[in-house]
Amino acid sequence: MRRWLGPLCLSAALAAAPVVLAPSNPALADKASNTIRFAYDQIPENIDPYFNNLRAGVIISQHVWDTLIYRDPVSGQYKGQLATAWRYLDDKTLELDLRTGVKFHDGTEFTAEDVVFTLTYASRPENKATTQANVSWIDRVEAVTPQKVRIHTKQPFPAAIDYLSGPLVIHPAKYYEKVGPKGMNEKPIGSGPFRVASHVVGKSLTLERNPDYFKDSPKPSAKIAKLEIRFIPDRQTQMAEVMAGGLDFIMNVPKDQAEQIGGVPGFQARSGETMRIAFLNINTLPDGPVEAFRDVRVRRALNHAINKDALTKELVGGGSRPLVTPCFPEQFGCTSEGATRYPYDPAKAKALLKEAGFGNGLSIDFYAYRERQQAEAIINDLRAVGITANLRFLQYAAMRDQGRANKVGLAFQTWGSNSVNDVSASTPVYFGGGADDVSRDPEIHGFLRTGDTSVDPEARKAAYKKALALIAERAYSVPLYTVPNHYVASAGLDFKVYPDETPRFWEMTWK
């Protein structure tokens, strides 16, 4: 009951808000001090980016630290950040030239030693970096000169560039060696556009503009003077804080609440597509729980049965797009070109089911862990063609366990690719032969492996295209839509939203 009573209460208050709130301007106070107050519902256990796997951690890491490479979120191009240029010497050796004149927040100069120490430390399994996939591809790192490093990968790993522009920040070697991840959490030191003024572990983090930030960085110097980040677990409380003028910016707001507060003077709501994709994953294994799914006609019927466009436009909204293939369209290697399309056609779905011997209907279990409303809509669509889907709504971990134990026939999955803008972080997770692959098609495995490991971009694209076309043709999944995020802020704040769900506070300004 708690889940909907809270929103109900807030909705009622929001409906009354225009009358109550109109006279005052909540943004005034923080416009004057040039501060943005932001809250997030999860607390990173450790702010050191190598030792948490939370979105809040990613946001903090991009502000306090720098990476070797920066991926421009608009053009998708890679730009030099701590590195100025890079090249592959062979399939497994990446050489990077480093920038000179960059200083960490403690005043020490950035050199090759920092890159070598940070990446070596993080990639050693005994140091237990939280997301091993981020670092396990690194074999060793060496300094050639103080301004040049070489990263040797275990296998050819073309996605390295994207990892180096995402989760792999560079720490000051001497400090990190002395204090370790624990000290880095308590008193973080990076080279990013903001430095940490205070960190009350588990409660709040105050960042202030780094006045010595290097001019040539693709991340521009911060316009605001201060960024206060608080951890508030309850989303209704976050919303109330915004309405009471205690916060300037929040994200992950439920769609209906964002829409309501967007109409209130003094506030703005914005939404944007994210890298997270939603799709139905179909178990076709010989010992899978639903025999009918081994028949491609049934799987195609599923694809024809669901009104993806209506679902995307009417229920999801907020910049969401319908998908044709199970990957985020802007990811390197993701394409819908040449992939079989299954337009919404209930009659055809019925015919296909009849042809497969299920003219009298089919009853299945349908597993989901989020996107509840959308799951209900899908169940309605399926019912219309004669498929009775019983919703099994579980916690993520429980659903994943069941899936890996081969007990799930049809799962409503979503996948955020860890914000890595390369198809190797999405499609292969579900179709590349790993634990979550429930179609296990060796032909597709082959193409995906080629895409994951060749260093020639064109060869990669061609291989992924073939794999994605086969997945669509054989209807191993029902790609649905991209999941949007909804943001709410004080009206005076100027900001843009990006698919990687990382607010760029360094470019935000007060109007």
């Binding site: 009951m1 708690r2 009573l5 809270g6 209460c9 807030l10 208050a13 808000a17 109550v20 709130l21 005052s24 999860q42 607390i43 256990e45 450790n46 796997n53 399994p125 237990k128 939280t130 997301t131 091993q132 996939a133 396990s136 624990k182 572990v201 588990g202 409660k203 608080r230 951890f231 508030i232 677990p233 309850d234 209704q236 409380t237 109330a240 804080e241 309405m243 009471a244 003028g245 205690g246 916690q395 993520y396 971990a397 429980a398 994943r400 366990d401 996948w415 955020g416 860890n418 790993g434 634990a435």
Partner: protein, 306 residues
């Protein structure tokens, strides 16, 4: 009396032991813990690493015995999530929760006792009905919902009080009311019932007959006697308030034990979850034990019953 205390103490120990087993087992029945800790992006290797690191691959009984012996040696374990000793975390957060619990209790008593007395003096009058209405409302409204109503009124509309945080005493006003209001009805009804009973007894008639002023009869003679069961209830309700603070602390982002419990649940932080549940249970058991002993000391009949 000594036998009684020993018996009660033994029972309390048994309850604490049972709770330790329950808190250990229940948190492990909610799906594979290692998968949950490793998070969404985890691969099989990550999950295996987590399982081995935390010894989750051992049989549950071995894990339990290991944990229990650790507890006996004063080792409460290390948080999976915060990577710091559980005891430090708990001791760090306990003061906020105690502050909230005690202030809510004070609030509940300040509201409930006067209302209960007034209601008892004029049974079935409008004021009695009003007090009853408040009591029913208090028990019927879930405390998180009431908390949100308070936020809407005092923070969003009137802007008198801060919504969340624990920085100043002002931050405690709404959590105190939200939590205290929830337990007030029980006190009020007990005071009302006790007062009605006492007011009808012979010694009150005697006091009145002696010509004592009404105020003195009510406050000195009647209330004192009616409050005895309230003392016992207070002790039990304090335990309840400590437990109820999980929701309230989460809503108001108060950095106390309840919030820690919430965090540890959402992150499957087993060592913290177990210890928080155990500590809350032990506090509850100890308070009940204290109440039993005080009552038995006051009333010899209770001793004979066990």
């Amino acid at each position: 009396m000594i036998v009684f205390v020993l018996k009660r103490l033994g029972l309390a120990l048994l309850v604490a032991f049972a709770v330790s087993i329950l808190s250990f087992m229940l948190v492990r029945l909610t799906g594979d813990v290692a998968t949950a800790i490793a998070g969404e992006g985890a691969r099989d290797e990550d999950i295996r690493l987590v399982r081995e690191t935390y010894g989750l691959d051992r049989p549950m009984i071995v894990q339990y015995v290991d944990w229990l012996f650790g507890l006996m040696r004063g080792e409460f374990g290390t948080s999976y999530f915060f990577k710091s000793p559980v005891l430090d975390l708990v001791l760090d957060k306990l003061p906020v929760t105690l502050k909230l619990g005690l202030s809510s209790l004070a609030f509940a008593l300040l509201v409930a006792v006067p209302l209960g007395v007034v209601a008892a003096l004029k049974p079935n009058s409008w004021i009695d009905r009003l007090a009853l209405g408040i009591a029913v409302l208090g028990q019927a409204l879930p405390n998180f919902f009431f908390a949100l109503l308070l936020v809407m009124l005092f923070s969003v509309t009137l802007r008198w009080l801060p919504v969340s945080g624990s920085g100043t005493p002002w931050h405690f006003v709404m959590p105190t009311i939200a939590l205290g209001y929830y337990v007030a009805p029980a006190f009020m009804r007990l005071v009302r019932a006790g007062m009605i009973e006492v007011l009808g007894s012979d010694f009150i008639r005697t006091a009145r007959a002696k010509g004592l002023p009404k105020r003195r009869v009510v406050l000195k003679h009647a209330l004192r006697n009616a409050l005895t069961p309230v003392v016992a209830l207070t002790v039990v309700q304090l335990g309840y308030l400590l437990g109820g603070s999980v929701v309230i602390e989460t809503i108001f982002a108060l950095d106390g034990l309840g919030y820690l419990a919430y965090q540890s649940i959402s992150h499957k932080d087993l060592p913290v979850m177990q210890v928080v549940v155990l500590i809350l249970a032990v506090i509850y058991v100890l308070l009940t034990l204290a109440a039993d002993i005080v009552n038995a000391w006051l009333d010899p009949r209770l001793r004979a019953n066990l």
